[in-house]
């Protein structure tokens, strides 16, 4: 009886722990956004310096977490976390949307040409904006009502996620070149993409269910998790540093 209730409680705690992480980007940005709303001096410059670093990085981390749900299921067979795919996708829409809105309002000193120039005046801005716009149909269909409405065609709409993945990587390539963040993004993307290859996914699942190739699976899992962790830890570190600076309203100047 106690074991059964623990089996129910632990997944629920896990889901709510991961849902709790979704407030972090907004908690980091809240002081600067409140200052901006109150019209305090220097608030526009602070938000301008922080929004891409905090909300942009957060959006990508949320995207990666969303993409990680299916590979984790493939590797472990866990189902308790599957609901997080929708939660992280919707949270990414709100985070990236806030980033785009704040950029359009506050980055006038960096990008000339009015609000439109601030969201589409450069190659990297254009691909960032395109990524946010692609999130609109994805978010609108991320619910049970839309699944029922679209039936078997729901999946084909959600496959826009892969287009979004490409546009985000192009955005980061234009922004950082073949260094830093872009390489981190490739490091987290590679294992997630590999575990989506139908042959790999099918074989891993059947081996897990048949309890065969255990050593091979453990070795592959360690290699993939290791590569993922290299990129992911850099992104989290960046968010922690820039997020803390934003929280105390002392962002690094561009």
């Amino acid at each position: 009886m106690r074991a059964r209730s623990r089996k129910r409680v632990l997944p629920l705690l896990g889901v709510w722990f991961f849902r709790g992480l979704l407030v972090i980007p907004f908690a980091f940005m809240a002081p600067e956004i409140i200052s901006l709303a109150l019209g305090r001096p220097g608030s526009v410059a602070n938000v301008s310096a922080s929004t891409a670093d905090v909300l942009g990085t957060s959006s990508f981390l949320l995207f990666v977490m969303m993409l990680a749900v299916t590979p984790v299921y493939t590797m472990t067979g866990w189902r308790w976390h599957l609901i997080l795919r929708r939660d992280y996708g919707v949270a990414m829409f709100f985070t990236a949307g806030t980033d785009l809105t704040l950029a359009a309002i506050t980055t006038g000193a960096t990008f000339p040409g009015g609000p439109l120039g601030r969201i589409a005046g450069h190659t990297f801005l254009l691909f960032g904006t395109l990524s946010v716009f692609l999130l609109i149909p994805l978010t609108l269909t991320a619910n049970r009502g839309a699944m029922h409405w679209l039936g078997g065609r729901w999946k084909s709409i959600q496959r826009l996620t892969y287009v979004l993945w490409v546009t985000i990587l192009i955005h980061l390539a234009f922004l950082f070149g073949l260094s830093s963040f872009f390489l981190d993004a490739l490091a987290v993307s590679a294992p997630l993409a590999l575990l989506r290859v139908p042959v790999v996914r099918r074989r891993w699942r059947s081996a897990r269910k048949a309890r065969t190739n255990r050593l091979l699976r453990i070795g592959a899992a360690l290699a993939l998790i290791g590569l993922f962790s290299i990129g992911y830890s850099q992104l989290v570190h960046e968010l922690a540093v820039k997020g803390t600076a934003a929280f105390v309203q002392r962002p690094p100047s561009d």
Binding site: D53, G117, A120, G121, H122, L126, R153, L160, F181
Partner: protein, 60 residues
Amino acid sequence: MHQDPAAYAEVKRRRLRAWRVMMLLALVCILAALALGAFELHAHGLNQFLYRAPGVGASK
């Protein structure tokens, strides 16, 4: 449990229409972003569209 063929066809038709609506929305979103980019490119020229000074857009 068998479904009425006419009702089944109606559901299929409704889902196809729903799918077309969402794909049209996705297309509109993509075209809107590209139109904004094209407008900015036309207004400020290729050089500004392509060139990014170090540190602009992200502090790293």
